[in-house]
């Protein structure tokens, strides 16, 4: 509500928003009471009766009235860092911060050219990998088997996006190729992969690929799962990019052709920049989904943040505290996903203004 309006108008606005008809009043009161009750119960449970510190752990447990945030106090390192060596956990935290900063920086319009964005992300990702893996600059080496928690989630997400995005562009270009056989085959491949569940693709890459790949190509299980996920991501993203290309007026490509530009110039300077701009909201949405679905690797047996959350309450000491742990892990996911989706909504508004 606009605070600059005179009081009378504000009151009237209040009335039309909440109490315009009798039914409206009823709805407002009903939902208002419901919301108040839910909020109060949550506040009562999560703040008033909560146990905050691990020292008075005896206060929670069966029969306690409030939340037992003590479990977070005691286990937050496990949730965030998984099995990463205790003394080196600052590296894991720093690596996550680097990726978050990289993500933040790529929101700035200055970076919105393919070359700058690619350079930024490659630099960010390499820093992340060096910090996590170690082995140089006097950092002790930590193998990927010991990665876990938030940094593993971020690692999977970042590598899937970095591998998948170029692949998606290639797929999209192949699918709209002038050559019928290439376009048709690519179409069949993309549609088939899109109609499979991500879990089955991850599972196939983790379990089945060792059967059908020659020995030197098998590689690490984590890398195979990331490759499978990147393929899945690329197929979805390729359709988004293709949608972006299709929404361009045909005159754009024809004009470029008339000016004598070659295929790669037309694609690189005329078509793709505009297509990406059109496809930006859908791309952000896809990134959001990709981040959330990294959680599926739990089922394949990786120790990312959801699994480390499971482990945090999975012992006899804390086995009652599942709601608190899931609330905390949920909050971490929420912060990332919500920020990303809000940014997407902002971009959409910004573009809508530019269109006008």
């Amino acid at each position: 509500m606009d605070a600059t309006l005179p009081r009378q108008t504000r009151l009237r606005a209040l009335r039309t928003d909440y109490f315009s008809t009798r039914l409206d009043t009823l709805v407002t009161l009903g939902f208002g009471l419901l919301a108040a009750w839910v909020l109060w119960s949550l506040f009562d449970w999560g703040v008033l009766h909560a146990v905050w510190s691990a020292e008075n752990r005896e206060a929670c447990g069966h029969g306690a009235e409030g939340a037992c945030w003590a479990v977070i106090d005691a286990r937050w390192r496990l949730i965030f860092f998984g099995l990463y060596p205790f003394e080196e956990q600052w590296r894991s935290a720093l690596a996550c911060a680097v990726i978050v900063l990289t993500g933040g920086a790529s929101c700035a319009p200055w970076f919105w050219t393919a070359r700058r964005l690619a350079a930024l992300w490659v630099a960010g990702f390499v820093t992340f990998y060096v910090l996590m893996r170690g082995g140089i600059f006097g950092l002790t080496e930590v193998s990927e088997q010991n990665w876990g928690g938030l940094s593993l989630t971020i690692f999977i997400f970042a590598s899937v996006t970095l591998l998948g995005m170029p692949l998606a562009i290639v797929f999209a270009l192949l699918r709209r190729s002038q050559l019928p056989w290439i376009a048709r085959t690519m179409g069949v491949i993309i549609d088939a992969i899109r109609s499979l569940p991500l879990l089955s693709i991850m599972f196939t890459f983790a379990i089945v690929l060792p059967f059908v790949l020659p020995g030197w190509m098998i590689g690490d299980k984590l890398h195979r799962v990331i490759a499978g996920y990147a393929l899945f991501f690329a197929c979805y993203q390729a359709e988004i990019i293709r949608g972006g290309i299709q929404s361009l007026p045909g005159g754009q490509e024809e004009a470029a052709q008339a000016l004598g530009l070659g295929y790669w110039h037309r694609i690189g300077h005329i078509i793709l920049p505009q297509a990406f701009r059109n496809a930006l909201p859908a791309t952000i949405n896809q990134l959001v989904i990709t981040f959330k679905e990294t959680s599926l690797v739990v089922i394949i047996g990786f120790f990312e943040i959801l699994a480390s959350g499971n482990a945090a309450y999975g012992n006899s000491e804390w086995n009652f505290a599942h709601v608190e742990v899931y609330a905390f892990v949920g909050l971490i996911y929420f912060v990332f996903v919500f920020a990303l989706s809000r940014y997407g909504a902002y971009l959409e508004r910004r573009m809508a203004v530019a269109e006008r």
């Binding site: 928003d17 909440y18 407002t28 109609s195 499979l196 089955s200 059967f211 059908v212 009652f320 949920g330």
Partner: protein
Amino acid sequence: MISLLRQKSFRDTASQVGFIGVLILLVVTFALTAKTNLDAQGMTSGFGFLERATGWGVSFSLIPFDTNDTYARVILVGLLNSLFLGAISLTLATVIGIGIGIMRVSGNKMAELIGTVYVEIFRNLPLLLQAFFWYAVLTTLPRPRDALEFGGVAFLNGRGAYLPGLNVTGFSVFLAAIALAVTVGLWLWLRSARRFARMAPHIKKAWSRGLWLGWAALAVALLWAGRIPETPLLSIPTLKGLNFRGGIRVSPELLTCIIAISVYGGAYIGEIVRAGFNAVGKGQSEAGHALGLSTWQTFTRIRLPLAIRAVMPMLINQYVWLFKSTTIGIAVGFVDFFMVISTSINQSGQTLELIAILMGGFLVINYSMAWVLNRVNDAIKLKGTQLRT
């Protein structure tokens, strides 16, 4: 050679042949490596194992199944379970989604706020996290003796939900469900087919009423004929000793999957429904009001049908996507298609064949679902000038 390369038609053919060639080469390499690996392990490939008995049981099945039954049957069990879970949770997700969508465009700020909060919370958390959460909550509910009670006929406790049911054979329920599907099909046909377009409205109404009454009568007759002798028709769960007897038990695993998918899907479908309402121009409802229709009539006769038609393609994609998410069953131990395949791989070792069945199954289900829904879309979508807002 150089001149040949300059020819566009030659280059085109060469690149296509190259592309297809590389793909074929990949597939052949995979097949050959797989063959050497399997030979080295002394395993027989092929689908003969489908005839073998499994030796293990499943915790939930719509058709009779025991450990002597074959792999083919256990796969069928998993497939039916997935379809069952998909049908229930997609329906519930649609109901929730339409509710949330309506709340968000209702014009009442309080309802809009609650709808927004719902969407933002449940859409921004991973489905798997939600499933784990619901599973932990459902399995730590009180013991049967202290079960939560709903009107004395339905109960919820740590071992699942207990609902009142009928003492009838599964087969008669199945027949009644088929009759329902046929009735819905006939009803849609009656409503939308061109050959009934000129039928007088009251006759049409009579026909559709007749259809539904016919189905109800048939269903009652079927259920009556299929009742299990010497038991009361209605079976209400009651506490006997340490556990409940009678009624229908919904296991925590199934309940978790249903709740998680419908709550998560409801948030997504709610957003789609909202987009649909926003796509319907203001002029439509103003015209409705100008013709003397009430707000409710304008809503049900004009805005809702137009909104659903406007977003039908998006909804179809969403349904396909949500159906794929039934694979989270494995995370909580619900015996769905994916879990059956994964257990079979562990037990029989026929990895490649089972993965092929898994992928083939999902391709068939998703393509047929998309095909049917696209036919529905073609039948009801707005044509020509109706789109104007």
